[in-house]
């Protein structure tokens, strides 16, 4: 089999595999970090131990998720060089600084405060601990900002020149590069996706424990907060997705046509293809089920507006349409399911049945992992839709990879697959085990800090925080 695969295909498969795996973890940790900051704020504001319990429940899960995100992320920062060295040499002057800024402004911030967030409550006191939690949450958002900016530039490259060495270099200001045309839309869509993914996971866990014991106050808190998120932010995400679609139509029309399955031009309004089997070879969507005019209505807000077809563009510029077509439908399908779940939760809340409606709880459990599916499907849609380019319209993927022999890349791909499935498989099993345990009021005792509760200033309190035996008493095992 390896004989038939060229190094480009193998390098793409390896990058797609490692980045898809990696993306799962930040999608969860971006949302969880913000959620933890909210929980800690609620605890500090209301003084209710319940919020601290829920915080302690999720912070342990966060630590596992974050750890997996870190190690799979380090792999990404080196894969640009190992597998895409030509791309790195040519595009490094533009992409490199954006990623280096991510390291400087985000990764260090997260890592620097993570230790205090996980282990430091008894050492630094409540206020500084809350500050550390906020810094970690801020770090995840800054990280998303830079990496989405770099990724967006690859879709909508602007503000560059190509120098004598064939390198992409800034034409002048960095402003248009960082704030490239698709960046704001992508950033909003991505961050909301992370929040919704987390809300679904939290809601699924809450629902699971409500099914066991509907009087569990902690499970009620999880479920209620998550359902607010689904009900309020779900519709916003559909709007954000729509505006990103319009932006993509403007800058990458071929990608949108692939998503829609429009091989033929539609001079008097494009249909919305609900299902079908696209074939690049036949340039047609077989077995299609479509609604006339709706495609143009959604994309151009006019049912009769003409839309080009893939056939209007050279075949060499088409992405693999079936993948893009289907991954897009999976993402949208999950989005609509989230909307449905949110609406149902509002109805249940209004009729006072939020904690009693078992069908709703089962739905939430089933939807628990749905956010991850949508995130990966959305990522596949946009990245496969960018093919055959790495830098859209400028640099072909086939001209970007490292001068490596196919066996080297194939061997490393196999090793990555084995290691990722076993290590992250084990991690997922641990996460599910932690989530299967019901959150209780025995989660952790509020750190009883007599010396500080007695009214000593935080600065004085810090003097006493050397790691003595008495400090260890404050930790729960």
């Amino acid at each position: 089999m390896i004989d038939h695969l060229d190094p480009t295909t193998l390098a793409r498969a390896q990058f797609a595999f490692t980045v898809s795996f990696h993306f799962i973890f930040p999608a969860f940790s971006i949302g969880l970090a913000s959620y933890l900051a909210v929980l800690e704020a609620l605890w500090l504001k209301t003084g209710k131990g319940l919020y601290l319990d829920v915080f302690m429940y999720w912070v342990k899960i966060f630590a596992v998720v974050f750890g997996m995100g870190v190690v799979s992320g380090i792999v990404m920062s080196y894969q640009f060089g190992t597998n895409w060295s030509v791309y790195s040499q040519k595009v490094g002057p533009i992409i490199g600084p954006l990623m280096a800024y991510e390291v400087l402004t985000a990764f260090f911030l997260e890592a620097g405060f993570l230790g205090v967030m996980l282990f430091g409550m008894a050492k630094v006191g409540k206020s500084l601990h809350f500050f550390a939690t906020c810094m970690v949450a801020l770090g995840t958002l800054i990280s998303a900002t830079w990496i989405v900016s770099a990724n967006s530039w690859m879709h909508t490259p602007v503000g560059f020149l190509v120098n004598a060495n064939g390198q992409f270099v800034p034409a002048g200001s960095w402003w248009p590069i960082v704030f490239n045309p698709s960046f704001p839309y992508r950033l909003v869509h991505t961050v909301i996706a992370a929040y919704l993914t987390t809300a679904l996971a939290v809601g699924g866990v809450g629902a699971w424990h409500l099914l066991v014991d509907r009087t569990n106050l902690h499970a009620r808190t999880l479920f209620s907060m998550a359902m607010w998120m689904a009900a309020l932010v779900g519709p916003v995400q559909i709007l954000a997705g729509d505006t990103q679609g319009l932006n993509t139509l403007k800058y990458q029309p071929i990608k949108v046509l692939a998503m829609e399955g429009d091989y033929d031009p539609s001079p008097s309004g494009a249909p919305l293809v609900l299902f079908g089997l696209p074939s690049n070879a036949d340039a047609v969507v077989h077995a299609r089920l479509e609604i006339p005019k709706l495609g143009s209505l959604i994309l151009l807000h006019d049912p009769n507006a003409p839309l080009p077809g893939l056939k209007d563009f050279a075949r060499s510029k088409w992405p693999p349409v079936p993948i893009v077509f289907w991954s897009f439908r999976i993402m949208v399908g999950v989005g609509l399911a989230i909307l449905g779940l949110g609406v149902c939760s509002l109805i249940a809340r209004a009729s006072g049945r939020l904690y009693d409606w078992r069908l709703l709880h089962w739905s939430a459990v089933i939807m628990g992992p749905a956010g991850f599916v949508a995130v990966i499907a959305g990522w596949v849609t946009t990245e496969v839709g960018r093919q055959p380019y790495t830098v859209y319209g400028q640099l072909l993927t086939a001209q970007s990879h490292s001068p490596l022999a196919a066996p080297a890349v194939a061997a490393s791909l196999v090793v990555f697959a084995v290691v990722y499935f076993s290590v992250f498989g084990a991690g997922t099993a641990y996460l599910l085990r932690m989530m299967a345990r019901a959150p209780t009021s025995r989660e952790v005792e509020p750190p009883h800090l007599p010396q500080r509760a007695a009214g000593i200033t935080p600065a004085a309190g810090m003097e006493q925080t050397s790691a003595t035996e008495s400090d260890h008493e404050l930790h729960r095992h």
């Binding site: 342990k60 630590a63 596992v64 974050f66 750890g67 997996m68 870190v70 190690v71 992320g73 792999v75 080196y78 640009f80 060089g81 190992t82 060295s85 030509v86 790195s88 040499q89 490094g92 002057p93 533009i94 490199g96 600084p97 990623m99 280096a100 800024y101 390291v103 402004t105 990764f107 260090f108 911030l109 890592a111 405060f113 993570l114 230790g115 282990f119 430091g120 050492k123 630094v124 390198q167 270099v169 800034p170 960095w174 490292s402 001068p403 022999a405 080297a408 990555f416 084990a426 991690g427 641990y430 085990r433 925080t465 050397s466 790691a467 035996e469 400090d471 260890h472 930790h475 095992h477």
Partner: protein
């Protein structure tokens, strides 16, 4: 601005990041390598807890090294990584295993021995890969048309295996002396004995690598042994001897912090020695820092931010270490 060569400034910043990585992740990789020699239970838990709050920050310097090289010296990044492809993959996978072990080992007591083993082997593999990579860069990389032109096992040679082994000893020494500082009781006594033996072994390995390097290429010989440069370069081994003497003396006297600081000094001297051998090349005798430099706009854009952000990073990193000062103890939040 024009009077200062921005590429040289950047070479200095990247060198600082690499050095920060080597000593900071060095001690926690070293603890990983030594992990199986500690008794299960209290000794291992202390060793783990002494680095659990800081390892992630330590490893971020590696990401900065990679990302920084891509940003300001993309050509070097694009040559070195394909040239050391199997090493890089091995290092990354080693880091995966050891990184997840920090959390996974607490999740199920029955699985703990396996994750402890993953922690140790992952640390060992990552360290060997880094050591061999260093040797591979020193011995030279084949370059043609701005790209790596060698085969995928060019990096393998007796010299690179020697540098791989030397780094394993060096990181272990860092780890052992860190544990002398951060642990107590049986774990500390064990770490102190290890540090003594590893100190001797590391010095021998350093001597071997230093003796072999000038024979790799004329250029290295000339840099170290021709008059008048030799009067300056001779200071390096002299300082190594003094540092080593203070290290053994302080370890004997039961000092807790000084041995670690002396090992840091030893690493710094090695690093200076490396600088004497390769400057101004990023890929020795093939690609200088000016050949590999990204366009000026990219280097300037990065430099502005770095000048502002670096001091802040160093500030809160120091604070995080300060919060977890003192002995590590056996209890985390687990």
């Amino acid at each position: 601005m024009n009077s200062i060569d921005i590429s040289v400034v950047w070479a200095g910043i990247i060198a600082f990041a690499v050095f920060a990585y080597v000593v900071m992740d060095g001690f926690d990789l070293g603890i990983g390598i030594l992990f199986p020699t500690f008794a299960m239970g209290e000794e291992r838990d202390q060793a783990m807890n002494s680095i659990a709050p800081v390892w992630d920050g330590n490893e971020t310097w590696l990401v900065l090294g990679g990302g920084g090289l891509l940003a300001v010296f993309p050509l070097a990044y694009a040559i070195i990584l394909p040239a050391t492809y199997p090493l890089m993959i091995a290092m990354l996978l080693g880091l995966v295993f050891r990184g997840v072990a920090f959390e996974f080992r607490w999740r199920n007591a029955a699985h703990r021995p396996y994750w402890d083993m993953a922690f140790a082997l992952g640390s060992l593999v990552a360290t060997i890969a880094q050591g061999i990579t260093l040797g591979a860069i020193l011995q030279g990389i084949r370059v043609a048309d701005n790209a790596y032109a060698g085969a995928w096992l060019d990096w393998l040679s007796p010299f690179t295996l020697l540098t791989g082994a030397a780094l394993v000893l060096g990181y272990s020494l860092l780890g052992a002396s860190w544990l002398v500082w951060k642990t107590e009781g049986a774990a500390q006594a064990h770490a102190r004995r290890m540090a003594f033996a590893l100190g001797i072994a590391t010095l021998i390995a350093m001597a071997a690598v230093s003796a072999a390097t000038p024979f790799l290429h004329n250029d290295y010989w000339r840099r170290w042994f021709t008059v008048p440069g030799v009067f300056l370069t001779a200071q390096v081994p002299l300082l190594v001897l003094i540092t080593a003497a203070v290290f053994f003396w302080s370890l004997r006297r039961g000092a807790e912090r000084l041995p670690f600081l002396m090992v840091l000094a030893l690493f710094l001297l090695n690093f200076v020695g490396l600088g004497i051998s390769v400057y101004p090349y990023l890929v020795p005798r093939q690609v200088t820092i000016w050949d590999a430099a990204a366009p000026r706009q990219s280097q300037e854009f990065m430099l502005v931010g770095t000048a502002v952000i670096f001091p802040i990073i160093l500030g809160y990193t120091a604070w995080a270490y300060w919060v977890f000062r003192g002995k590590a103890g056996t209890h985390g939040y687990h």
